[in-house]
């Protein structure tokens, strides 16, 4: 192991730099159609080495937030501090961050090697140092054999790896990703996802990743920031986001959701006894749910099940199948009920036992996997 490699190993061990504190970020585009800010009161503390995903529908302000962190947009209000140092005052080229772009943004007039070396040359490192860093990075990303190719001779996946290498080689304190995988096909996307995660964990660089792909967010993130209309809707671990979403918006955006109207009978701490589909259950409740006038019970499709019944009316926990689609690992039913149409996913189905449209069914679900939410004006 060379000394350079040893220092790299050491860098993995202690992740001490790259703590980002964002406070009250606000951005209003001048001359925009709506007077609403693109981003408003965005506050977030990102720990050193953490992998954060900004997730949300298009227009929610996630890219604007990322570009403000990078310095390409200037916030109207708010502060961004990296390890205590104010970033707003610094122009983007002086911020110790590197960005990976959606369209890769490789320099078409340079070879792969020159692309990767670009930032180091700007930094005016010695030739030997540049050659060493570039070689190491190319090697570790399996790009060494492409070093002298020009970007337009590479496949999409290879181009993406070069873009990643070009940012990684800078050893930035913060890596910024702007939907980097959205131009790749599905299979490659999964591969690259794993590669990004591996590298990020290995280098321990604080990372902020913008995406609208929830699978990507679930797999990569230490914490997910769900955004909507310029605001943070929820910041939490992927499992919390999925199982205990802060709002019906988050519940609907991440995964698929059934919202059942439920009436609270009694409340005890964070639990509530509710009546739903003509039955009574004890469920976990969102802190705001109990004080709200109307509540919804979130039940994920995979937490539900259906079984054939002799009943022939749609009422209470009895419903009628509208459609049944066999996907292989699951069969998906759309079921008509009193509480609206529900989606039910049955895993590892027995092909012989798949119900068909028109069949009447009894609906069951596991109360421990539900979550009571306050109803929004949705």
């Amino acid at each position: 192991m060379t000394t350079a490699e040893m220092t790299r190993e050491a860098a993995v061990a202690e992740v001490t730099t790259g703590k980002l504190v964002i406070d009250g970020l606000r951005k209003v585009y001048e001359g925009a159609q709506s007077a609403l800010p693109a981003v408003d009161s965005f506050s977030l503390t990102i720990e050193a080495g953490e992998f954060i995903t900004l997730l949300g529908p298009s227009g929610c302000g996630k890219t604007t937030t990322l570009r403000m962190i990078a310095g390409f947009e200037h916030p109207n209000e708010g502060s961004i501090k990296l390890d205590g140092e104010d970033m707003i005052a610094l122009s983007p080229d002086r911020r110790p961050m590197a960005m990976v772009f959606q369209g890769y943004a490789l320099f078409p007039h340079m070879t792969v090697r020159d692309n990767v070396a670009y930032g180091l040359r700007i930094k005016k490192l010695s030739k030997a140092q540049i050659a060493e860093d570039v070689d190491y990075t190319l090697e570790s990303m399996d790009l060494a054999h492409l070093a002298n190719r020009s970007p337009n001779q590479l496949s999409g996946g290879q181009q993406q790896r070069v873009a990643l290498a070009r940012a990684m080689v800078m050893r930035p304190k913060v890596l910024l990703f702007d939907e980097p995988l959205s131009n790749l096909d599905a299979k490659l996307r999964v591969q690259m996802r794993a590669e990004i995660l591996r590298l990020q964990r290995q280098l321990g660089i604080t990372s902020i990743y913008v995406t609208h792909d929830q699978d990507e967010a679930m797999m990569l993130s230490d914490r997910i920031v769900v955004m909507r209309n310029g605001h943070i809707e929820q910041v939490a671990k992927p499992s919390t986001i999925y199982l205990k979403p802060a709002s019906s918006f988050v519940a609907d955006f991440i995964g698929r959701a059934n919202f059942l109207p439920a009436s609270v009978l009694t409340a005890r701490g964070s639990k509530a006894l509710v009546r739903c589909l003509a039955r009574e259950f004890e469920v976990d409740a969102h802190p705001d749910a109990l004080s709200a006038s109307v509540q919804l019970l979130l039940v994920r499709p995979e937490a539900m099940n259906v079984s054939a019944t002799t009943s022939t009316t749609v009422e209470g926990d009895t419903g009628r199948i509208l459609s049944a689609v066999f996907y292989g690992p699951v069969v998906e039913y759309e079921v008509e009920t009193d509480a609206g149409n529900l989606v039910v996913e049955v895993a590892a189905p027995d092909v012989e036992a798949i119900l068909s449209a028109g069949d009447f069914v009894q609906i069951q679900f596991d109360a421990s996997k539900t979550w009571l939410l306050p109803a929004e004006g949705r």
Binding site: G71, H74, N76, E77, M99, F101, A105, L106, F107
Partner: protein, 590 residues
């Protein structure tokens, strides 16, 4: 200091109570300095001469001419000018369109050759066509009288518009060809699949789609025609237009304010058309550029369409070949059509003494002006596309003025603005830049004119090239630590190099062949080829004019050839192989 100014300055010193809001996009200091420099340069190149013309034109003496606007003489001159513009605009657009349509849509062999011949008039000096035309078609013309026994009078509107049409149709041809190639062939296919014949498709789909192109070409040729000075001088006869009238005012009547007044009359329609065209192009660019065409054009093979189109194309091409054949041969005989004995005297004259002087000086000044225009042009395009948000339209407009203003107007403007030194009290702040008394024999003024005329081409190619570079590429460089100047130097400039060189080629060709602005500021010390050619034509020395034209065409073509080789893929491969060799020699590891 007035009271108001004092209050204002006080107010400026009071610190704002509330913390200032962060600006949306602050230009960094270097960029701001560059911006100021560019604005000053453009002001010197175009705005000051324009202002000087207005000042002279609206002086007492100038107002006399402007006041005669309603007199029959002036009205006739204005009418002549507009008529000429309309005829040349319509005719040139039609010829250009048919040539482009044949090139893009009709099946025949020799398309490359057609293309090259059609572009010949672009790289040739303004007199080549006019002089050859006189030799071929005038009263004693080789063809008119020699072949057909006719003695037509070619001086006046018909001959003039014919010559101008042949000089300028390549512009329309290039425009239309670009548009035809951008038309999505699937539109034709859709029309055909809905049951339309090819002819119907042509009338109902192709032509309507090209309407903006027709309009743009017409306007472009209109302005070129009304701005032209060289051809009306040689061929106008009694048909006086504004440019020749202004020329006479200066050269015959020594009436500078009067000339300025005529220049203003010429400037108004030219600027109007320029503005209309800008507006039009900005409104229609969505329909003209449809992105990557899908499918393939099926070429016309039906003889019903091919025969008339190709006959027309053949006639045009034959005329061009005849004209340039006349230029080539005319240089080697004493007086083509009159005394056809072979002689080298013409070339001896222009390659030795005065002639070689003019050739050297012109080439040298054009070579100096071209890179200056390129650097300013690329900087302007960078500011327009990447840096300016509000003022970008205004900046682009300023840079384009160099072509929007007719050459005659620009020339008179330079003559007025830079003929005298700028003296305040006893101090000379600025020496005279143009005219006989100017420093360096007036070459500074000439280079400035070349730069002004070349700038728009340079800006256009620069803007187009920079717009094709995704802003993310710039941001990637910034994100890797490059500041805006470094980004421009290491990313933008290399990426637009090809476009830059192409822009340079046209700029160089334009400088070498321009006459109308130059003629007003040439000096006895500084001889420019085009004005030498004018002299030869006016004194009837056609042989010398032909020899000059040939040399000029060869010079321009060689530069174009050289540059297109430098930007070709072949050269790129050689160059990158060379670079690659260096790269693998780089130290690997320690």
């Amino acid at each position: 200091m007035t009271l108001i100014a004092e209050v204002e300055s006080l107010r400026a010193e009071i610190p704002p109570v509330k913390a200032p809001q962060l600006k949306k996009r602050k230009l960094d200091r270097v960029t701001r300095l560059i911006l100021i420099a560019i604005v000053l340069i453009i002001a010197a190149l175009v705005l000051w001469p324009l202002y000087s013309i207005l000042r002279e034109g609206f002086s007492a003496q100038g107002l006399e001419v402007l006041g005669s606007l309603s007199s029959p003489t002036t009205l006739r001159i204005i009418g002549n000018t507009l008529l000429l513009g309309a005829v040349v605009g319509a005719g040139g657009t039609l010829v250009g369109f048919i040539m482009a349509y044949a090139q893009a849509r009709v099946q025949f062999r020799g398309k490359r050759l057609l293309h090259l011949i059609a572009l010949l008039p672009i790289v040739s000096p303004p007199f080549a066509v006019a002089t050859a035309f006189i030799t071929l078609f005038s009263r004693n013309g080789i063809i008119s009288s020699g072949v057909f026994g006719l003695t037509p009078n070619v001086y006046g509107l018909p001959g003039l518009s014919f010559v101008l049409m042949f000089s300028f149709f390549p512009v329309a041809y290039m425009n239309m060809l670009g548009m035809l190639r951008n038309l999505d062939p699937s539109l034709d296919e859709a029309s055909a699949s809905l049951g339309a014949t090819r002819f119907k498709t042509f009338w109902r789909v192709t032509v309507p789609m090209l309407l903006p192109g027709f309009a743009a070409s017409f306007l472009l040729l209109f302005v070129e025609a009304i701005a032209d000075l060289a051809n009306p001088l040689v061929l106008g006869g009694n048909f006086t237009v504004l440019s020749t009238r202004a020329y006479m005012a200066i050269n015959g009547e020594f009436n500078v304010p009067g000339a300025s007044a005529y220049a203003i009359m010429l400037l108004v329609p030219a600027l109007l058309v320029f503005l209309v065209q800008r507006y039009w192009v900005s409104r229609t660019n969505v329909t003209t550029v449809t992105g990557k065409p899908a499918g393939r054009v099926s070429l016309i093979t039906s003889p019903l369409a091919r025969i008339p189109i190709l006959t027309f194309v053949g006639l045009v091409i034959t005329t061009i070949v005849l004209i340039y054949g006349t230029v080539a041969v005319g240089g080697f005989v004493s007086y083509l059509g009159v005394d056809n004995t072979f002689t080298l005297a013409n070339y001896q004259y222009i390659l030795g003494g005065i002639g070689s002087d003019a050739i050297l000086t012109t080439t040298l000044l054009a070579v100096v002006a071209t890179p200056i225009a390129a650097v300013i042009g690329m900087t302007v395009s960078w500011l327009v596309v990447r840096k300016l948000t509000k003022g970008s339209g205004a900046m682009d407009f300023l840079a384009m003025l160099g072509l929007a203003v007719p050459g005659t107007v620009l020339g008179i403007g330079y003559a007025v603005a830079y003929n005298k030194a700028w003296i305040v009290g006893d101090y000379m702040l600025f020496p005279a830049l143009a005219g006989g008394a100017a420093i360096l024999g007036g070459t500074v003024g000439i280079v400035m004119v070349f730069v002004t005329r070349s700038l728009p081409t340079s800006v256009r190619s620069g803007v187009a090239a920079i717009q094709q570079i995704s802003p993310a590429i710039d941001e990637a460089a910034t994100s890797l630590g490059a500041n805006s100047v470094t980004t421009f130097r290491t990313i933008t400039l290399p990426l637009i190099r090809a476009a830059l060189l192409t822009g340079l080629t046209y700029a160089f060709a334009r400088s070498m062949t321009t006459l109308s602005p130059i003629i007003f500021i040439t000096t006895p010390q500084t001889k420019i080829m085009t004005s030498q050619i004018l002299g030869s034509v006016e004194s009837g020395k056609f042989g010398i004019a032909f020899a000059y034209c040939s040399v000029l065409i060869i010079l321009v073509m060689s530069v174009i050839g050289l540059i297109s080789f430098l930007t070709s893929d072949k050269f790129y491969r050689i160059a990158s192989a060379w670079r690659w060799r260096e790269t693998i020699q780089q130290p690997k590891g320690r």
